[in-house]
């Protein structure tokens, strides 16, 4: 009895040792030299595999960084400057800083100001809806309200507001990956500079129709009157195709345009509310 046990243990140990040796030799023979920095960078990544950098996942991004030694072109928008600083450290490159970006919904056409003119009975998908017709409201440019953007957001930053019918983006959760920008068939969402303490000014409309037509379709539409462009002293606003656009690289957040807009299409967010007294003075 004892003999059998000893024999079994010996035979199995021998077999195990032999196989381990074969595995070791094979692994040596077929070893692929891989830059260890790829692993290091991958560990630094947020790991969302969102594709916001333009690569198919974090590993592909890390490989591209090491191969191209370029962190200007290969920039992880989700990790932001902090992560990229560490990546730069690994690669021995100078850190590149970019302004953090945030997704902004450029449509203010809530249900209350933009009446529906036809009833859409199809499946609840913006892409399907856009393939069937222009819109269920008189504005063929604005948000369709089926929430494709909320569906693709990996950070759970987008929630459809049932009251307005528009998506709302939680800027603290938004990673700026741009997945929603690609998902929106109408091109309503734009990645814009987050701004100091989140302060930013933007035109919340992309309606290219002439003023009266746009106004009739939606109470919050940009009518392309150009008042904002005249008021802007930084030359940041341009009106093309009957719609104003604020260049966020030029905007100095003076808010002069906000007061000028007759339809309230220009939104200023995260500005501190001034105490009433001060305002009166």
């Amino acid at each position: 009895m004892g003999k059998i046990i000893i024999f079994t243990i010996l035979a199995l140990s021998l077999l195990g040792g032999l196989l381990a040796m074969i595995l070791h030799l094979v692994a040596r023979k077929f070893h692929v030299e891989e830059d260890s920095r790829i692993d290091e960078i991958e560990k630094l990544m947020p790991g969302a595999n969102c594709g916001g950098c333009g690569h198919a996942g974090c590993r592909a991004f890390a490989t591209a960084c090491v191969k191209e030694m370029d962190i200007e072109k290969n920039f992880c928008p989700v990790g932001g400057n902090e992560t990229m600083k560490k990546v730069a450290g690994v690669l021995g490159l100078e850190a590149v800083t970019k302004e953090p970006m945030v997704a902004v919904v450029r449509c203010g056409g809530a249900c209350s100001v933009r009446p529906t003119v036809t009833e859409y009975g199809g499946t609840a998908s913006c892409r399907v809806k856009a393939s069937l017709y222009s819109s269920d409201t008189a504005c063929p440019y604005g948000c369709l309200g089926c929430g494709d953007c909320a569906g693709v957001c990996a950070s759970g930053a987008i929630v459809m507001n049932p009251e307005t019918g528009l998506p709302e983006i939680d800027e603290n959760l938004c990673a700026g990956c741009g997945a929603c920008v690609k998902a929106c068939p109408k091109g309503v969402i734009e990645l814009r500079k987050k701004g100091p303490r989140g302060m930013r000014v933007f035109v919340s409309c992309i309606n290219k129709d002439k003023g009266p037509v746009a106004r009739k379709a939606c109470g919050a539409a940009c009518i392309g009157c150009g008042k904002c462009a005249k008021a802007c002293i930084h030359d940041a606003i341009e009106v093309t195709d009957n719609v104003a656009y604020i260049d966020f690289t030029k905007c100095k957040l003076c808010k002069k345009c906000v007061a000028e807009c007759p339809t309230g299409a220009i939104h200023a967010v995260n500005f501190p509310v001034l105490p009433k007294k001060q305002e009166e003075q």
């Binding site: 003119v117 009975g121 199809g122 499946t123 998908s125 399907v128 393939s131 069937l132 017709y133």
Partner: protein, 453 residues
């Protein structure tokens, strides 16, 4: 025994309510808006100026590319504006607005109703006449006919199939023209046959639920053969009532027994399919020098009074709202207006949009007919795969489309989908199969095209 295609297909109730209503001319609208996008391909380019007087049948726009078509004025009047205007889907498309006056036809047009049957001998002259008349395929795709009549070098048409199936429920305009204008259609068919060459055999496929049309076409062939000494070798084929019997690939399979390969054109299998309405337009273009400015429109629906179930001869550019005025407004319990048939037609989101060359019907559906069943989950019953006339697996494609897996979608031939809607019609789970598959198909076709570049 009526012929049919071997796989898939569905049997919706045919509801040809307006089948016995003779074609009447729609009154002249006070103003027409003629769209520059009435065909597949590049939009036409306007050649008139604001304030100019145009006569009926005059060229108002020229082709904007190789696959494009001439557009003629359907009325006599003054050009009021050339501006973008919303079409039935709300898309802004350039339109020429013409304020109408009493008709004054262009001199070259022969307005007599006598059947002309001396077909010109020169195929090139026929194709040129078809091109000059702005004829496009009236079966739905509105592909410029002169392009289809010029097979690529090395390809020979052995079969010409005239599509008189009208397999969509409700539609009756093709049925009416076959009954009322059979001889013109037969001559038109023979004109097309002459262009395609002597080797080409000619068939007319008609679903067996239209016995009067089958009878009328057969009689017309007989009568024309007595007049001409038997040149019209056209065979009328009765087809089983099954949707989509009129699909180009299904029709070729049914009549010739040949398959059209994936991503191939019908001409690769030696077949050319033309709608009967196109044959009529070809007849008018070649024998009467009359451009395509009118077409037949079915106005129908369960909620429409029997007195208003009509087949109209309309002029292109007539606003849909004007047609609706003729039948006393939108019926009370109509919930949706469709341009075309219930299976492949498009919902009209804007009643001010105008009729185009390819318009075939204005259909009113009730609330209960338009309501979609609640979306639940796929139970793998396989009904959609049984119904698919292309032999695809819609449930699988739907799942792949949701995952945006283009490689697998291509492997499972999403690009062969003919968008007939049989899968959506049969799905007991109410899944938007076609909606998603159609988008996936567009993505895959885009990927294939960019790979070829």
């Amino acid at each position: 025994m009526a012929k049919t295609f071997p796989i898939g297909g569905i049997h919706p109730a045919d509801k040809k309510i307006s089948r016995d209503s003779a074609i009447v001319a729609l009154p002249l609208p006070p103003v027409v808006y003629i769209s520059m996008c009435q065909h597949i391909g590049a939009p036409a380019v306007p050649v008139v100026t604001v304030g100019q007087k145009v006569r009926t049948g005059e060229v108002i726009a020229e082709p904007g590319g190789f696959v494009s078509a001439y557009i003629h004025s359907s009325v006599t009047g003054i050009v009021k504006s050339i501006a973008p205007r919303a079409d039935i889907t709300g898309k802004m498309v350039p339109h020429i607005e013409i304020e109408t006056m009493p008709d004054e036809w262009v001199d070259t047009v022969d307005l007599s109703t006598k059947i002309a049957c001396h077909i010109p001998d020169d195929p090139a002259a026929i194709v040129e006449a078809v091109k000059q008349a702005g004829v496009v395929g009236l079966g739905g795709a509105t592909f410029p006919t002169h392009v289809k009549l010029t097979p690529p070098p090395g390809k020979v048409a052995e079969y010409l199939i005239l599509n008189g199936t009208e397999c969509e429920p409700y539609l009756t305009s093709d049925n009416r023209i076959m009954v009322e204008r059979a001889e013109e259609i037969v001559v038109g068919a023979w004109i097309i046959n002459r262009v395609l060459g002597k080797q080409c055999r000619c068939f007319i496929g008609i679903e067996e639920n239209k016995p009067d049309a089958i009878e009328a076409i057969k009689k017309a062939i007989g009568r024309l053969n007595i007049l001409s000494g038997g040149i019209y070798e056209i065979e009328v084929v009765a087809l089983k009532k099954k949707y989509p019997q009129g699909g180009e690939k299904q029709l070729i399979r049914t009549i010739t027994g040949r398959e059209v390969k994936s991503m191939a054109l019908p001409i690769d299998s030696g077949a050319v399919v033309q709608n009967v309405a196109t044959a009529l337009a070809v007849y008018e273009a070649v024998m009467k020098h009359k451009p395509l400015t009118t077409n037949t429109l079915t106005v129908t629906g369960d909620c429409l009074d029997d007195a208003f179930q009509r087949n109209y001869l309309f002029r292109i550019g007539t606003p849909i709202s004007f047609v609706i005025d003729q039948i006393g407004g939108v019926p009370e319990n109509a919930a949706k207006v469709i341009s075309g048939g219930p299976m492949m037609g498009k919902a009209v989101s804007n009643l001010d949009a105008t009729l185009v060359k390819g318009s075939s019907a204005i259909l009113f559906l009730t609330e209960s007919q338009t309501r979609r069943p609640k979306e639940t989950v796929c139970i793998r019953c396989g009904k959609c795969a049984d119904a698919c006339p292309m032999g695809l697996e819609p449930f699988l494609l739907y799942r792949l489309a949701n995952a945006a897996n283009l490689e697998e979608l291509e492997k499972y031939s999403v690009q062969d989908c003919i968008e007939c809607g049989c899968c959506l019609y049969t799905c007991p789970a109410g899944l938007p199969l076609l909606d998603k598959i159609r988008l996936a198909k567009a993505d895959v076709l885009g990927a294939i095209r960019s790979r070829k570049k």
